[in-house]
């Protein structure tokens, strides 16, 4: 038995949930560190510069790196951030402790699942990209590891449901507190959304990769994948919205304008996130134009809660700027705390979300989609959304969460600030370049530096893309330095100085508000969401399941 020295104080004694949250968060940022490493190399590729021969012994091909980039960033990092933030924040808000055994089980499942999937990924045995479309066939360990990883999120769903139920029992008739409500709807949405992926992997891909079944139907697999694949972007986005609604106004020095509107936005996400996946299959044969059109309409409806969010947040920031003494039409903008990295991350992310969202309207427009389907336009679009808005909100959150969880003060605030500006500039430049290249027809997911002379027409934008990759490399270096130097240092603040979570206050609250009361009937809305999904997916899925056309797997990398 080791003897506890006095200097080794247990910071988690009163708050064991802090430790599991920190582990989730840091595992997520570790995944982001590895995944992001390939980003600048991809940007160079799209600038016609091929760095991959240099990586040869470790990374076999461009596509292996791209698989790691997509999986680690878009699947691993995003889910772990949600599991860290949206279990911890409701627990803090309700002043309750989540079930600690289960909380650790969720961490271990994520960790083990990641470890199992990592082996074939690093060994070039599952170079199938993060969408793993059959009949490209990866090693079974990839699908098994991914399944365990995703199932760990079901434990998080249960943890929040359990917190909410306990709170409701202790506070009958009261309206769910805001952060808890937002987290709860997020997790319920994810439960409905994840079912497609779970069925695809558990029923088809795992038995197939183990050799138990001969083939799988590629169209059905795509449909199940995109059933989850669109709402998954809201699964990534909503934690960022939680930061924007419940933390950012306070950090900016003001209040959230409207609590009921925040609830309404999240409720609309619960209803409309899932039944829209065909908008990723506009170009697919085997789905009728009528169904594609129906999903187009529903997709446009999901823009509504984001439009609401844009308004509420802009109004809340104006409220903050004026509270800080900003005057005139635009003076409030200057008055905002631009020196605070916690403010910078989500705010610069939100600004990038505006062009990102506008491009989304193009993608969602069924006929227009043909112009940009599978071009770098799409990559430009989602780097403004997930790699900027979501990732920068997570970065901003890390700047207060890590000090809050560990009592270790933030190291290198100048680097933190610089990382956010550089990330913002780099991503917007890259987004611009990728959109243009895509409009000119440059394909995504292509090792085009092998054949760079084939895309002369897009040369200026390709050069810009390479430059933004370098900027982003520096930005990422600064960011990871700050958070790992902060988390790994030995300094700790005294207990009395633990940084608080900056939960925001609201101008108009939920009490006596009709909308807020209606939104609180969570079970009812969940049922409505299920019905919408059955309407939007029932018939096409029945049709596909009853006319399966299995195709054998292949390894072509």
């Amino acid at each position: 038995m080791a003897v506890r020295t006095l200097s080794h104080v247990d910071v988690y004694a009163g708050y064991p949930e802090k430790k599991v949250t920190l582990y989730m968060l840091m595992l997520g940022f570790f995944a982001l560190l590895l995944g992001t490493f390939f980003g600048p190399l991809q940007a160079l590729n799209y600038g016609g510069i091929d760095a991959y021969p240099l990586l040869k012994p470790l990374v076999q091909s461009y596509y292996q790196g791209l698989t790691l980039h997509g999986v680690l960033n878009a699947i691993i990092f995003t889910q772990l951030f949600a599991q860290a933030l949206l279990v911890y924040l409701p627990a803090r808000e309700l002043r309750m402790r989540p079930n600690m055994t289960l909380a650790w089980i969720s961490w271990w499942m994520a960790f083990i699942g990641l470890g199992i999937a990592a082996i074939p990924l690093l060994g070039n045995a599952a170079t199938v990209l993060y969408t793993f479309y059959p009949p490209l066939k990866g090693h079974w360990a990839f699908y098994v590891g991914a399944a365990i990883f995703v199932l760990s999120s079901y434990v998080s769903i249960y943890l929040v449901l359990d917190l909410w139920r306990r709170w409701k029992r202790a506070n009958p008739g009261k309206i769910t507190p805001l952060v808890t409500y937002l987290s709860l709807t997020h997790w319920l949405m994810w439960f409905l959304a994840s079912l497609g992926l779970v069925v695809e992997v558990a029923v088809f891909l795992i038995p197939w990769s183990l050799g138990l079944i001969e083939g799988v139907d590629p169209l059905l697999s795509r449909t199940l994948f995109w059933y989850t694949g669109h709402p998954i972007v809201y699964f990534w986005l909503l934690p960022a919205y939680v930061v924007a609604y419940t933390i950012l106004p306070k950090v900016a020095g003001g209040k959230l304008i409207s609590d009921p509107l925040a609830r309404l936005a999240f409720l609309l996400f619960l209803l409309f996130s899932v039944p829209v996946g065909f908008h990723h299959q506009f170009a697919d044969p085997g789905i009728s134009s009528g169904w594609k059109f129906f999903h187009t309409v529903l997709t446009l409806m999901v823009a509504v809660p984001s439009l609401m969010t844009a308004f509420t947040l802009a109004a809340s920031l104006e409220n903050a700027g004026r509270a800080r003494g900003g005057k005139g039409l635009l003076g409030w903008i200057r008055a905002l705390p631009w020196g605070n990295p916690v403010f910078l991350g989500p705010t610069l992310g939100l600004i990038s979300f505006i062009p990102g969202g506008a491009g989304g309207f193009v993608n969602a427009s069924f006929p227009l989609n043909q112009v940009i389907h599978n071009t770098t336009w799409i990559v430009g679009h989602f780097h403004l959304q997930v790699a900027t808005m979501v990732t920068m909100s997570a970065m901003g959150a890390a700047f207060f969460l890590i000090p809050h969880l560990t009592r270790k003060p933030l190291v290198g605030i100048g680097y933190a600030r610089a990382s956010q500006w550089l990330w913002f500039i780099g991503m917007n430049l890259m987004g611009f370049a990728l959109h243009w290249m895509g409009y000119l027809g440059v394909p995504r997911r292509a090792h085009i530096s092998e054949v760079a002379s084939q895309y002369q027409g897009a040369a200026p934008f390709m050069a810009l893309n390479a430059i933004s990759g370098v900027i982003l490399f520096v930005a990422a270096g600064f960011f990871f330095y700050v958070i790992f130097a902060t988390a790994l240092q030995n300094r700790r603040l005294p207990e009395a100085q633990t940084p608080e979570i900056p939960f925001t206050e609201v101008v108009s609250g939920p009490e006596g508000n009709r909308v807020a009361q209606l939104t609180d009937r969570v079970g009812f809305w969940f049922a409505v969401a299920v019905i919408l999904i059955v309407v939007a997916y029932g018939l096409p899925l029945i049709q596909m399941f009853t006319s399966l056309n299995p195709v054998p797997g292949m390894r072509l990398w």
Binding site: Y133, L136, P218, A283, P285, F293, V297, N374, P443, M554
Partner: protein, 160 residues
């Protein structure tokens, strides 16, 4: 503060009405284009047995046929190329494409046009297009299909 609150609510209502109106306009435009210009969008033309794509009609013999005054093209997208290697048609004449894959998923993006279907093994994609300008159009595979994906090109020659 109370007055200010009212102002914010009014702006908010305006913004939401603007947003919904915008979405409505989009839906109208989209419906119009789908109904009147929808033939370039990929449609299903039935399932096919992947094992026999290369040995049975019509894809065993990838070709462009003249049927009546129009063209019908049967195309294989495979790792890593297209058959026929060169699709020859005349400008201003409607071409109906039937495309499938004997192996994995591919793209069939024809540069300078709106032709951009997903090619899925086991499914036949159908679309129609009229080339208005003569010249050589490149086909680019824009769905990851394996190690030589970036080098997968095809060619359509449109003659006067």
């Amino acid at each position: 503060m109370q007055d200010n609150h009212k102002v914010v609510e009014a702006y908010e209502r305006g913004w939401l009405i603007f947003g919904l109106a915008m979405i409505l306009v989009f839906i109208v435009i989209i419906s119009y284009t789908v109904l009147n210009r929808g033939e370039t969008i990929s449609r299903g033309a039935g399932q096919i047995d992947v094992a026999t794509v290369r040995t049975t009609s019509p894809f065993a013999n990838p070709r462009v046929e003249q049927v009546g005054g129009e063209y019908v093209a049967y195309v294989q997208a495979f790792a890593f190329g297209y058959l026929p290697a060169e699709i020859k048609v005349k400008k201003g004449v409607k071409v109906t494409f039937y495309i499938t894959s004997p192996d994995v998923q591919h793209g069939f993006y024809v540069e300078g046009t709106n032709i951009n279907p997903q090619i899925i093994p086991g499914e036949v994609t159908k679309l129609e297009y009229v080339f208005k300008k003569a010249g050589t159009y490149r086909i680019v595979c824009n769905e990851y299909c394996g190690i030589s994906h970036a080098q997968m090109f095809g060619k359509i020659v449109v003659e006067e």
